[in-house]
Amino acid sequence: MWSFFHRLASPKHFYRFADRLIPWLGWSTLITFIIGLYLGLIVAPTDYQQGESYRIIYIHVPAAWMSMFVYVVMAIAGGIGLIWKMKMADIIASSAAPLGAAFTILALVTGSLWGKPMWGTWWIWDARLTSELILLFLYLGFIALQSAIEDRRTAANACAILALVGVVNIPIIHYSVEWWNTLHQGPTVTRFGKSAMATSMLIPLLTMFLAFKLYFATTLLMRARVEILERERDTTWMKNMIMGSDE
């Protein structure tokens, strides 16, 4: 088991592993999305207060959860790369950054589209919305820093430090609605205790969440694979593999 993880640290083995896993993950993502959309848009009942507009939740909430989850993945990978100088960890961190930024943008825009009809405003500078916007800036900062520094090693280290420092924002986003009074309501789904949502609405939400998770796993591996192709193009194993697949 341990040696399996050890081998994954080598780009060569990781590439083969990703190649084998991506089709499986990709198809399960697609199937889960279809089930989740069917449940969320067709099976789930109307909300007693918000009518049909609440269906935005099936995009907004999974995207917001993923925006925080991906950040933690990115920071941990960056930290591992920083301490153990592991090439694969740097590749994971830099592959996660644009995906996290995409989830954050999706969460912010769908939140805005939901806030306008329900709250009466596209945007408000309350603690939840502001801290989520800061998360987007952290992702964009990571991406900008990486492209600004020529040397790969230095860039990875600088980005890892930025990612680790930014982790303090994650609990702030999560607890903002409890620590301060905000326009954004409190959490609906909590890990402990009963969630404040009817089961017929909760099941589609959890299905969509699973779909987003699978999607992230798929696209992370896809991006990592491209990154390996780019970084290892002069190695013998890469040349052999590419010429081998030709015949």
């Binding site: 341990w2 009942p45 109307t46 909300d47 007693y48 207060q49 918000q50 507009s53 609440y54 939740i57 930290g79 920083l82 301490i83 153990w84 009809p117 329900m118 709250w119 009466g120 405003t121 408000i124 309350d126 603690a127 430090i161 680790l164 420092v165 982790v167 303090v168 702030i172 620590w179 301060w180 009074n181 905000t182 326009l183 309501q185 409190g186 959490p187 609906t188 404040a196 949502m197 009817a198 017929s200 609405m201």
Partner: protein, 157 residues
Amino acid sequence: MRLLPKHPKRRKRLALIVLMIAGIGSAVALAAVALRQNINLFYSPSQILAGDAPRNHLFRIGGLVEKGSLKRNSNNLEIHFEVTDTVNKVPVIYTGILPDLFREGQGVVAQGKLGADGVFVASTVLAKHDENYMPPEAAQAISDAQKLKLQSTMTGN
């Protein structure tokens, strides 16, 4: 499995990172506590009556729309209602269009100024909804059950 790196240089680097995160974390926490009131989006009616809210300044009030307090003036779109935190109430006047979720008994956040007469003149009114989601039938069932319970306690059954 080793949790800590063996190499002394890596150990040092790990310690440095942990220290840095702890340092920045506590700095942010301190700043957040210091800015507490500024980060808060609104004042509650009790805070306003206690004189915590700024006088002659724009600020936001938040709470629930008191049940039975909503009055509309059919001539000029003027809306009167009371905002409550279940302890204290502040009357609010607003002219304009209300968001879809604005309802008696639901949350509201209004921006405006507090007049000398203690009436809050709002320039914008936003609805704040709670974290509950359920189909209308379920909401009906809950309110029926509550009514039944109330009746039984009143009649002493």
